[in-house]
């Protein structure tokens, strides 16, 4: 699987990568090639995104296969950490330290000192808009502030590659917008290559068109997001329609070439459809409802959650 196949040298290359924890499989024969830019890693919770990041950072070692990051193997390679900034999806800030103490520790671990370090801290907190809270204990930060401070920690040593694991998780819409804007700015104005994960496709779409879909420990699709959307559209979508006289509507729907199957649910006023071209279905539906003289009280897709879409992609 290749993200942004443009001939650039890959920043990450994983081949036949597998990682398991006892009976639990984290990654299974995972293959991915990531080239410079912003790359989104999308997958439901527990799909293997965080395991992939841990392998990228050398926090765990692969059971099989290989991975190179910026041309180097990450396991037991601390020098590589000079070139990577990591913002984890979990709470990692020491609650009893202030933001400044936290950033000072990170800076010193990266050989930054004195006025150069103080200056860099000021630059970074300005960038993530955390200047006001720098001397407050991180334990008192809001979720959005903690995310910003973690991003500041990841950026402090000006790494070539920035890894952001679910940076939008648990944040409110305003903070989400700010963080998305920040991520785009970090690439556009500061030149960082960024890998950002999420379990929400549309959030990633707002940051980049290069995505890799991860499901059940495998990279099931990758490339431009429009190609992935086309790929998804080739698979039938499940839609439930509830209302009155749905039998008449079902008869009409059966004649449409984009309807794969129609089945009645226990409640006779409820119909489940399998639709191959959702766009055509939604465009024609008002006409068909009118023709069938039925009234629709409720309509919803069973595939709104990402998990269902992934199940299609892996053929389950």
């Amino acid at each position: 699987m290749t993200v942004q196949e443009n001939g650039s040298k890959p920043i990450i290359q994983a081949q036949a990568l597998s990682k398991w924890y006892g009976q639990v499989i984290g990654l299974n024969n995972f293959a991915l090639r990531v080239t410079p830019g912003i790359t989104g890693i999308v997958g439901p919770n527990g799909s293997g995104k965080s395991t992939f990041f841990k392998l990228v950072l050398g926090l765990i070692k692969p059971n099989a296969g290989s991975i190179t990051v910026l041309g180097q193997r990450p396991w037991k390679n601390p020098d590589l950490h000079s070139s990577i900034g990591f913002c984890p999806d979990y709470e990692s800030l020491p609650a009893d330290s202030t933001g400044r103490e936290y950033l000072t520790l990170i800076g010193k671990l990266h050989m930054m000192h004195g006025t150069a370090l103080s200056k860099r801290i000021q630059e970074i907190v300005k960038l993530v808009e955390m200047g006001q809270a720098l001397d407050r204990k991180t334990g008192g930060y809001s979720k959005g502030m903690r995310q910003r401070m973690k991003i500041a920690g990841a950026l402090l040593h000006d790494p070539e590659l920035l890894i952001l694991d679910e940076p939008l998780s648990g944040t409110d819409p305003l903070v989400r917008k700010d963080i998305i804007d920040l991520i785009k700015r970090l690439h556009k104005e500061h030149g960082h290559d960024i890998i950002v994960s999420s379990h929400v496709l549309f959030e990633i779409e707002r940051m980049t068109h290069n995505v890799a879909l991860v499901y059940m420990g495998r990279a099931v699709a990758s490339g431009d997001i429009s190609e992935i959307r086309n790929l998804m559209d080739r698979h039938p979508h499940n839609i439930i329609i509830e209302g009155e006289r749905t039998t008449a509507l079902a008869k009409l729907l059966l004649d449409q070439d984009y309807v794969v199957s129609v089945s009645f649910n226990d409640n006779k006023n409820s119909v489940t459809l399998q639709v191959s071209k959702p766009e055509d279905f939604f465009n024609n539906l008002p006409t068909l409802i009118d023709k069938a003289q039925c009234s629709v009280s409720k309509m919803y897709s069973l595939d709104d959650n990402l998990e269902a879409v992934f199940r299609y992609l892996v053929g389950r």
Partner: protein, 252 residues
């Protein structure tokens, strides 16, 4: 290997962890232990007719051989495991510093915190006991000898409990077992079995220095220098073992 980067990294971690250990929640335990020691030794001092022997015996049994391993266990046995569990270890694990050296950045602050706590507790005990009988040159000698023993004990016990912190998933349970059952009970049994405790060699070392109390009459298992060499070798072995295990450890 960039030596400057290694030294800078160790220094930064040492500074951070020392502050956390000395001014964190565990500092309250040091204060409570010091108050307890002050009460016990203060009362014993008021009842003592042979202060040099009685005071030395209390420093020996209460501080060196009871609170010394207990305090090292409290500070050390969960130091790394706690950071692994609450994931605050991420900034260390993703720093450009070999984890074997990061381990030193945990060991040094642990030694500093344990030694300072034990020096404070010992000083409180000395003042509470000998303050009632006056401080002479012999008292000062006993004080300095015990300070030397608690500092040596800090190096050895810290290496032991920090290794436990990396080696086991439930290090506090193992630490409690070691501090109370092994050091506290097995180390006090008659016969050769007590040679398998750190406290035996600390006591052997002390018997060559201290001239009062039961410790001065301690039947040495080996010479003073032999005990010192053994304690140093044990501390170095445990430090290297712990650093190796930490380097190889997956932080899932």
């Amino acid at each position: 290997m960039d030596l400057k980067r290694v030294l800078d990294g160790i220094y930064a971690l040492t500074l951070h962890s020392t502050k956390k250990l000395l001014f964190g929640k565990k500092a309250i335990i040091t204060i409570l232990v010091a108050l307890f020691v002050a009460a016990v030794m203060g009362y014993a001092g008021s009842q003592s007719h042979n202060p040099l022997d009685d005071g030395t015996n209390l420093m020996d049994t209460l501080i060196l051989f009871f609170f010394m391993p207990v305090m090292a266990m409290i500070f050390g046995s969960s130091l790394i495991r706690d950071e692994i569990d609450d994931k605050s270890i991420t900034h260390v694990a993703t720093a450009p510093l070999d984890r074997a050296f990061s381990y030193l950045g945990y060991y040094l602050p642990l030694v500093i915190a344990v030694a300072l706590s034990m020096v404070a507790i010992s000083s409180v005990g000395m003042v509470a006991f000998f303050g009632q009988h006056g401080f002479g040159s012999e008292t000062l000698e006993i004080y300095l000898e015990f300070l030397a023993l608690v500092v040596i004990g800090s190096f050895v016990y810290s290496s032991l409990f920090l290794a436990i912190s990396v080696l086991f998933n439930k290090p506090v349970m193992v630490g409690l077992f070691y501090a109370f059952i092994w050091e506290g009970y097995i180390g006090s049994l008659p016969g050769a079995i007590q040679n398998a405790s750190v406290k035996h060699y600390l006591r052997s070392l002390g018997s060559g220095w201290v001239e009062f109390g039961d410790i001065s009459r301690w039947d040495q298992a080996s010479s003073v220098w032999g005990s010192a060499a053994l304690l140093i070798a044990l501390a170095v072995f445990l430090l290297v073992l712990g650093a190796y295990l930490f380097r190889e450890k997956e932080l899932a």
